[in-house]
């Protein structure tokens, strides 16, 4: 064990160069683990966003795209589906419940979802969990709104506050439905899903705020005040998508076929679980590339480490020669140099893990609010441990190189009188 102390002391003597290489290794380890963590948490986050739904129905498009805009509010619908098409599906005897979804408006960057009270009753997330209210109740009146936890939290809304919806999805500068303000009647408990970032209103309200609009803009000189909108037919004409739950899950293929073959208009029904798998297939290539790049970065870090130790060998000839003269065997020299590299690798991994923990804690609120991505505060998971193990292993193998070289040198150096 004496040589371990020796190795540590010698390393301390070269703390600047070794410290820098340690930082390089630590950074590369942070990158590698960070990518792995984001990958896993993104998947879990998506998978937890929808549960209990048998089919997602929309206009004919790609299955992945349909699930992305209908469930995760990413991207926009290419087409709507007509209300009678939805009714035909909802009235099918195989269907237990159905939730119409109407998207397209927003409130200060948060998407607005037009739906029915069935949403609060049947929508499930995570492990078949139902939505809960932290305050208030589902909407009843025409201009009532229910906020997701995040919306209420970030914009500081409470029950009874009045909000104005904007037409379209995006940042500032959107035309506003200023003449028809909504009242906040309920706030949902946090779910960690896109629901948190959504403003929920009734389908009739969506029709009502667009009564006096034509082609995406208010008609000049023509305005219908809120007190008169009830005189109009507010039954929805179109919706963006629908979530469907069946009485028997085994009937899902038949129902899917029936919806796909619907004669009235081209529709698409997808099983959310299958669509997610398709999404991962697409994203998987990118993930593997990222992982490969970060593995390369780790390799570069370790190569730097080996280079530093090798370069230091020349300066340490005297040190090694003295060690030899006081009785260190060439094998000891070999061990000494190998442990040198291993210590830096292990320390680098440890520092990397700590940096990752700090980084996760710092980035978490931002990822949650901007991307709806729930990142877990967790020190290490099993796949991460496996990656770390691989890094240490490669570090060990790489450290054998300077060890072997010192071993050879110390043999030769011991015989040459010149120092």
């Amino acid at each position: 064990m004496q040589w371990l102390a020796l190795a540590a002391r010698s390393a301390w003597n070269r703390r600047l160069t070794l410290g820098l290489t340690l930082a390089a290794v630590a950074l590369s380890v942070t990158l590698l683990l960070g990518i792995e963590r984001v990958r896993r948490d993104a998947r879990a986050s998506f998978a937890n966003s929808i549960s209990g739904t048998d089919l997602v129905v929309g206009a004919r498009t790609g299955p992945v795209q349909l699930v992305l805009y209908a469930v995760f509010r990413i991207g926009a619908a290419t087409n709507n589906i007509r209300w009678d098409a939805f009714r035909a599906i909802a009235d099918d005897p195989a269907v237990a419940w159905s939730i119409p979804l109407s998207l397209g408006d927003s409130h200060r960057g948060f998407p607005v979802l037009g739906t029915t009270p069935a949403y609060f009753e049947h929508f499930r997330y995570g492990d078949r969990r139902a939505l809960e209210f932290s305050a208030g109740a589902p909407f009843h009146g025409l201009f009532d709104a229910v906020l997701g936890a995040e919306v209420a939290d970030r914009l500081g809304y409470r029950r009874g506050d009045r909000i104005i919806l904007s037409h379209g999805i995006g940042g500032a500068g959107l035309p506003e439905h200023a003449d028809k303000p909504f009242t906040v009647v309920g706030i949902l408990a946090p779910t960690g899903t896109p629901v948190d970032r959504t403003v929920h209103v009734s389908l009739e309200a969506i029709t009502a705020i667009h009564l006096d609009w034509q082609g995406g803009a208010p008609v000049p000189g023509f305005s219908i005040p809120p007190q008169y909108v009830r005189k109009f037919d507010l039954s929805p004409k179109e919706i963006t998508a629908a979530l469907v739950g069946l009485k028997s899950r085994a009937a899902v293929f038949r129902m899917q076929r029936r919806i796909d073959d619907y004669a009235g208009e081209p529709l698409l029904a997808v099983l959310p679980g299958v669509a997610l798998d398709q999404l991962w297939e697409v994203v998987g290539t990118v993930e593997r590339t990222l992982l490969a790049v970060s593995a390369m970065v780790v390799a570069v870090g370790l190569a730097g480490l080996v280079a530093v130790i090798l370069a230091g060998l020349n300066e340490r000839r005297r040190e090694l020669a003295i060690l030899r003269s006081v009785g260190a065997r060439p094998g000891d020299i070999f061990l000494l140099l190998t442990v040198d590299g291993l210590i830096v690798t292990v320390l680098g991994c440890a520092v990397g893990v700590l940096m990752l923990a700090a980084l996760t804690a710092a980035v978490r609120p931002f990822a949650q609010s901007h991307y709806g991505l729930g990142i877990h505060l967790q020190l290490l998971s099993l796949p991460e441990l496996r990656l770390l193990g691989a890094v240490v292993l490669v570090g060990l193998v790489a450290s054998l190189v300077p060890g072997y070289r010192a071993y050879r040198l110390s043999l030769a150096d011991g015989l040459t009188p010149r120092l």
Binding site: R43, A44, A47, D127, R128, S248, G273, V274, L276
Partner: protein, 203 residues
Amino acid sequence: MRLSTLLIALALAVAGVAALPAEPPKHRVGDRLKQSNGGAKSGHNYQEIGWNALIPTGWDPAAPFRNMNLGALSDADVRANNALELMRKAWDEAPVEAGWNGQRVRIPGFVVPLERRDERVTEFLLVPYFGACIHVPPPPANQIIDVFPNEPVPNMRTMDAVWVIGPIEARRSEPKTSSDRRMGMGTAGYRMKAELIEPYKDR
């Protein structure tokens, strides 16, 4: 120099392992899985069965067409269309074999994931042939098993081939309303609480 070559090789090896391409699909649309040896196995307290065993003996979806000369009909013929409709209905109403209720079985099939907790699958449908949900007509009700694994299954993707082992439950609930009956919408079907799920390997 040898060292640098070694290092580059090392780096490439690490990157190569990380960049391993996804496995190409092993099955083609419509493929079915073979039994291991067929029949019951002694020494285990489950019975290995094939998908045909789940079809009640005597159920014949083609019965309504026995007296029809299908070959003589053209595709545009109304009777052909009606026959197809009848066929589809018979398919939808496919009865279950009640004899399997409560039996512990082992059966191979393809996975269609339904529910996930984090990344693990907590409920899936087991279907007899590859691509059942996408390209080919849906299997009849008695050829689908709604599987609830006792332990959530990690790394499970659509159309993975697996063996599932556990007690099977044959549910023969009668249609509730007259309109349900007319549409053939009883919720009959098989369910299983899977005790064990193993990847399917050709032997």
